[in-house]
């Protein structure tokens, strides 16, 4: 792009469009008018950078704009700010852009997205609504409008734009996932499933796609998808090993493991868990307080990486347990569970061994009595 040229022009004060000014500043020739006009021109050239001088003389407004050498074009500046999350810098530039071009779809979309992220949802929905009205074929704008409506707890208003987005771009993973999430929110997991499956297929490297797909599988009543869901959780965790999503995945994995365990036990307490819990109780009681803390901490750390408690072949080493033996994932879970019950009462261990623990405690008390 060539370097911008300076701009100088003179226009009559009487011709200035008063609708561009605040109401209190619309008396031509007044101090407020001239201040507002100066502000208007400075704002209007803000996106171009450089320097603006505004003068008034004999009913004429003189404007001189000097560009700054080497300055980035406005659109590049706006995009840089958006990509870096510098919304405070991007907003005035986008607003000015829309003042100059009220129907600039890209700016309507970008400013709408910014407001949506900031939960200024009324403004967001208005801007995004205009964007899709001007360009109904813009799938991203349709998705953004759907998301803003969802964030505004207006699921019904979200459905139309999201369905349109999926029709426009059947392989847009974001559109597919968001529509699927909407269906899940509405309690219609079977309707959500094909969209979430498609999102996970089109973009398998996005852990959120895998996670949401797995959640949907588990939400379908009367069907058993535990193994597939667990595999998806594991894949998602490999892609996002730390952070909020990782915690959510691990939480879901624990619940799934619990569900499978219950199903396998057909409603009965799992006796292998009872035995492991009982051994853990014995081990903790035989340790000094420092050793107890270390064992609990070690079990927690191993558990953080994900435990498939229904897979007996998955083994882990616990240096603090019985001289550093290898134990199964279920054993680690039991050791962790007992530690929480003993030393962090009231805290959620993330898995339900309540029945088994009562039995284990009963066994331990029985042994102590005998």
């Amino acid at each position: 792009m060539s370097e911008p040229q300076p701009i100088r022009f003179s226009v009559p004060e009487e011709g200035f469009d008063l609708s561009l000014l605040p109401e209190a500043a619309r008396q031509r020739g007044s101090h407020a008018f001239r201040e507002a006009v100066t502000t208007y021109y400075k704002d209007a050239y803000r996106e171009a950078g450089g320097r603006v001088d505004v003068g008034f003389s004999d009913g004429v407004i003189e404007v001189a704009w000097e560009p700054q050498a080497g300055q980035l074009p406005a659109s590049a500046t706006i995009n840089e700010h958006l990509q870096a999350g510098r919304y405070d810098e991007a907003i005035p530039l986008l607003r000015t852009r829309l003042q100059l071009e009220p129907d600039h779809v890209e700016s309507l979309y970008n400013l709408g997205m910014v407001y949506s992220d900031r939960m200024q949802l009324t403004e967001a929905r208005e801007l995004l609504g205009r964007a899709v009205e001007l360009d109904p074929g813009d799938a991203n704008a349709q998705v953004a409008l759907g998301i803003a409506a969802l964030r505004d707890n207006d699921a019904d208003a979200a459905q139309g734009p999201l369905e349109k987005a999926v029709v426009l771009e059947p392989r847009n993973p974001f559109a597919l996932r968001t529509l699927g999430q909407l269906m899940l929110m509405k309690g219609d997991a079977p309707m959500a499933l094909p969209h979430l499956r498609a999102a996970a297929t089109v973009a398998p490297q996005d852990p959120i796609n895998l996670f949401t797909y797995a959640q949907c599988m588990l939400a379908i009543e009367g069907e058993s998808h535990e193994a597939e869901a667990d595999e998806l959780f594991q894949r998602a965790l490999r892609l996002a090993p730390v952070g909020d999503l990782a915690e959510k995945i691990k939480n879901q994995q624990r619940r799934l493991a619990d569900r499978v365990m219950r199903a396998n036990a057909q409603g009965m307490p799992r006796m292998d868990a009872v035995m492991y819990l009982s051994s853990a109780l014995e081990a903790y009681r035989a340790m000094e307080p420092e050793g107890q803390k270390q064992l609990l901490a070690e079990a927690a750390a191993v558990g953080q990486k994900g435990l498939t408690i229904n897979d007996p072949d998955q083994m882990h080493q616990l240096r603090q347990y019985q001289g550093g033996v290898s134990v199964s994932a279920l054993q680690v879970a039991c050791i962790y569970y007992v530690g929480v019950q003993l030393f962090l009462p009231g805290q959620d261990a993330g898995i339900d061994f309540a029945r088994e623990y009562e039995l284990a405690k009963g066994m331990a008390e029985g042994q102590a009595a005998s």
């Binding site: 022009f9 003179s10 200035f16 609708s19």
Partner: protein, 261 residues
Amino acid sequence: MPEPSGRGRREFLPSANQAIAELEKATGKPVQIVEDPELNVLATIRRAGPGEASHVLRIKSGENRAADYLIVFECRMALRDDPGPRAVLRDNPAVRERVISECEELHPQLPPARAQELGSFIYRGLILQLRSMGPGMLVDRWIRQHGLDVSEAQGQAIESEITNNLAALKPSTRANYPAKVYEASISMNAAYAIHGGDLLGKPYLAVPYLSQGYGEIGRRLISLAVGGKGQTQELTEQQIIDAWAQELGVEGWYEWTELSE
């Protein structure tokens, strides 16, 4: 005296050569290139009329790449003609005389011959704007969309044109023109600035016109030229010019005449 140049005397950018070749192929008539140091503009084309053997492309001497852009622009404008008899704009003598009279009233200090010359100049200037600005938007969009080697020259030419046109906003300039002519001309300049600013990613180029309230009319004119929602087919030159004239309140200020081979 201007001399026929032929293509061997000066190097044109590939897209300029391509545009000339396409015009020659489409019309079956060669493009004669004339270097003219006296030319007021960088380049202009006179399309071959009935019975004329060639189009004449006059370019200002010198290695100026803006001329290459104008060559592409002028050739693409010529290529927009439909096959068959071409309709051309002619003056409406009665309207021209009315504009001349209004100029005489505005400038009583001028000798009658000078006032008539001024009035004619103002009238023809308006008709030229009407003739070229609207259809030209489609050509400029085409050039921009095709990412040609003249894109930078196009950007400079458009920005220069917009900047040069700003002088017409001065109150002193307004006072020299009949009101209707002035409003129509400024509105077209506004449309050009808004469109050009959008095309170049420099929407601030339109600020002077927006601040004077010409934003709405400018955008309406652009929409009439490049098409609004739901419009699937490009308008012809005649349709664009007539639509602009109606929007500006100057319909009937010109006549259409058909050229036949």
